[in-house]
């Protein structure tokens, strides 16, 4: 099966010489289309930096990164990074981060609009996703009129809009109660399988581990365990 994400020896360092601090130390990771992977670790373990590197907003210092089968970094960024991020990566945030002045439908239309998909095709795609995520009846409401769970569903619809190769999720369930959090996790589980999208999720939320395919455990900038299968114990005692 095709890999959605392949990272080899990803390193990110700040400073020079003795002041050099390595935040990522040769991280290797891979995710196939349809994988739902949790990235876990204590504060300062490098989760956020890894997310920034995978989200193409922080340039690594060394290593290699392939997203959706295309070389993104091999010593330097490819030039059309912004377009690549627009077309190939979806983002889900802890607090949904919907654009407050756009309705739910317009929030889903936004990534399509940014990639030049407009008109009927865009409207149909947005309607399909909102329906898929069971928020079609909330389409014309502004985010402030939606519940936390509904907002997160609309955010997921927005992330899926351009049919990305990979979705990066940043603590998607942290702001939700257990029931709603599990609901979102099952949704991510379903959409990764049905859409063939790899979902990489940074989380501290151990309640959701049972829903993921693998847990990548980071410690001090390095992968401590490259793929604990869901349900297995997590070394280091970070998750129970």
């Amino acid at each position: 099966m095709e890999y959605a994400v392949e990272a080899e020896g990803l390193t990110k360092a700040y400073g020079e010489g003795r002041a050099r601090v390595e935040v990522l130390k040769g991280v290797d990771l891979s995710a196939r289309r349809g994988d739902l992977i949790a990235i876990m670790g204590p504060s300062g373990s490098g989760k956020t930096t890894l997310l920034h590197v995978l989200g193409l907003v922080t340039e690594p210092t060394a290593g290699r990164l392939i997203l959706g089968g295309q070389d993104i970094y091999g010593g330097r960024w490819r030039p059309d990074l912004q377009r690549f991020r627009r077309e190939k990566i979806g983002f889900i945030f802890q607090f949904a981060n919907l654009i407050p002045f756009l309705t739910a439908r317009e929030n889903v239309l936004l990534p399509l609009d940014l990639t030049g998909v407009r008109g009927r095709a865009a409207r149909e795609r947005a309607a399909e996703l909102l329906d898929y995520l069971d928020v079609a009846d909330r389409a014309d409401l502004l985010p402030e009129k939606l519940s936390g769970g509904e907002r997160q569903r609309v955010a997921i619809a927005r992330a899926l809009a351009n049919d990305p190769a990979v979705i990066l999720a940043d603590e998607p369930t942290a702001s939700l109660d257990t029931e709603r959090g599990l609901s979102v996790m099952r949704l991510l589980r379903r959409l990764s399988a049905e859409h063939g999208t790899a979902v990489l999720m940074v989380t501290h939320d151990t309640r959701m581990i049972g829903e993921v395919d693998r847990v990548i455990h980071l410690l001090d900038g390095a992968v401590r365990d490259p793929g604990t299968t869901a349900g297995q114990s997590i070394p280091g005692g970070f998750c129970s």
Binding site: K47, T48, V57, F93, N97, F101, R158
Partner: protein, 429 residues
Amino acid sequence: MNLAFKDIRYHRFKFFSSVLGVGLLLMVVLAIGGIIRGVIYDSATIVTETGADLWVVERDTLGPFVETSRIPEDYYHAIEVVPGVAEASPLAIGWEHVVRPPRPTPLAKFMYKNAVAGTQTMVEPGWMDVPAEERFVVIGYKPGRIGGPPALVAGRGIEADDYELVADVKTGFQVGERVRIGYHDYTVVGLTKNMVGFTADPVVYTTLKEAQQILFRPDPDLLRDRRRRFREPFETEAALAPRLAEPLARRAADLAEDTHVVNAIAVRLEPGASPEAVAKEIARWQRLEVHTAPRQVNLQLMGSNRLLILQLSLFRVILVLIAGIIIGLIIYTFTLDKVKEMAVLKLLGAPGRRIYVMILQQAVLIGVLGAILGGALEFAVEPFFPRRVEATYGDVGQMLVAMTVIAALSSLLAVRRAMTVDARSVLGS
């Protein structure tokens, strides 16, 4: 998807209250422009409406509207035979007043109170009370010649010396009203409109002879003194020839009463005649000063109202700058409110251009809507100003262009802020 309009839809109260604020400010800018134009028009009205090509005045003077000019009335006969001159009309011009019970509107009362506020410690109380004296410009002309009222809005014109007036409507005089000016009562027989002097005082027309009586006739004490002084040189002759005493005394009295003086002679040229050439010819042989009509307007404008115009003009520039700064701050605040959304947009791959266009569109929209609103408000309040305010659609058009440019420039600060928004700030923090 137009993000600027979507944002405005969401923040409509904030946006439209900003537009209202900018609109009110631009209303003031436009009103000041209108006041400047009003001053210019007022300064030019008498000269342009007289229809004269040349203004002949006393040597080394700038004209009847700027400084005292007195020349013999009869000079107009001599000027009329200069080649190129079609008509010469002697004019007596001066300021007079009548005392009438003041009838200020509540708005006028408020404006007086407002004007006097803060000045009462410097001047005696009552300094700026509503005045009972109505000032006006008296213009005396020979009926049938240039210099009379240009168009009547009521009543009839003046045909002969019969103590009649044609007054501008701003005097408040009514047709048929009797008005005491100087030593005589005059009947208002007609009304004209928009005829004011450079001080915005309305114009009152009468015949040359009667205007000369109003403006130049000495008061009785001065007349007695003059008669005595004029008679003195003849007294030796009168003693030698007693027969001459009476006629000489009469002649002295006539001389003392003489008012055959005018302030200017308005000259209309024949078609094709060169104003400069004719002016040079008149000035050469009569030792008079001759100003072309445009120069007379300019002298009047730059002599009497120059500092006022420059002051207002500078004030207008300052206000435009303030408007620019305010628009800039509004847009900057709008941008600060959207820093998080901009970070999300950047993370979603929105090109920077898309974000800058959103900021620019909002800035320009505030400027343009503010200019349109300012124009509409200015036209609405124009009639309530005490003196002429002449803003035009052209002014509003200029303001639209200026505000578009200013808004674009003032949004640079916001764009600069938008450029520093880090997409990482919404991811994993």
